[in-house]
Amino acid sequence: MKKNMIEKKKKAVRDFFAILPHSQSLGMGIDFIRDGEVGMSMPYDSRLIGDPQTKVIHGGAVFALLDTCCGAAAMSHPDQVGPTATIDLRVDYMRPAAPNQRIKAIATCYNLTKNVAFVRAVALDDNEKKPVAMAAGAFVTGN
């Protein structure tokens, strides 16, 4: 019974995030959903270039991926019911993402209170040993 509930919840999160117009226009896809942990990724696209000299994707696109992934992680937490909204999100850009490589994000909701979900995330390209960016944020919870 409980297992059914969890599967239902994961499906709800998957369905919710599959149809967000802005996420779709960036080509984001869900890689996995676990309890309070979500993986998402986004293909390299020359329309998203932020620096023409280096062909590196704009930070804003990486921010969008991390924000979406963090929101999904908050929603997939076992104690969270319904949608969430971002209160604030900070992204540290540690190195430029390599051109022509898919960008993956993994977000974890590490604490959930009555009103707030605390989430952190990491963005990676093919070199998974060195993160491209890291994010930390707070999301509204409850219903």
């Binding site: 998203l48 930070g59 921010f63 971002t86 999100l89 540290d92």
Partner: protein, 168 residues
């Protein structure tokens, strides 16, 4: 010393508009989002015209947090670069007396960016203005405010640090 007659206004405007366009058109992601800029003297306002692709939650509907963040980060980077370009094109070269030519533009790189979502973004146009609070040789600190219908009712604000391009 010979007193120079003032430069014709049309020439000044042309130089400034061309420099700003060159900067904006060099970044594909700006046209992907559809961001435009309004210039009054050295002050620029970024404009994000509403379009369906910017939506996050379609049932509200509200702008996606990611499109808001990207809009703010773009505003900050353009403001920073514009400040540098302004100095370059408006301070005449001492040897020739004419404004320096704008070569290849090297952009600042974001170190970190933090967005405060104050209220949900409505499905309509948004505006943003950035303030450079520290303009250092190595890094700069920029604050951005964004609003929709009311200038004093911000729907998002952001703060970021940027690594400055090395001057040649």
């Amino acid at each position: 010393m010979v007193k120079l007659s003032p430069e014709p206004v049309a020439l000044i405007k042309k130089r400034r508009n061309e420099a700003l366009s060159k900067l904006i058109e060099s970044i594909p992601y700006i046209s992907f989002l559809g961001v435009g800029f309004d210039r009054r003297g050295d002050e620029i306002t970024a404009i994000l015209p509403f379009n369906e692709n910017l939506i996050g939650n379609p049932s509200l509907p509200a702008l996606h947090g990611g499109s808001i963040a990207a809009f703010l980060e773009i505003s900050a980077i353009i403001e920073l670069s514009w400040m540098q370009i302004w100095r370059q094109i408006e301070d005449p070269d001492p040897s020739t007396g004419s404004p320096k030519d704008l070569g290849d533009i090297s952009l600042p790189k974001t170190i970190d960016f933090s967005v405060d979502y104050l209220r949900s973004g409505l499905p309509r146009d948004a505006y943003a203005r950035a303030t450079v609070n520290r303009a250092g040789r190595r890094y700069s600190s920029v604050h951005v405010e964004a609003w929709q219908d009311n200038r004093n009712k911000l729907f998002a604000q952001g703060t970021g640090h940027f690594l400055m391009p090395v001057k040649n």
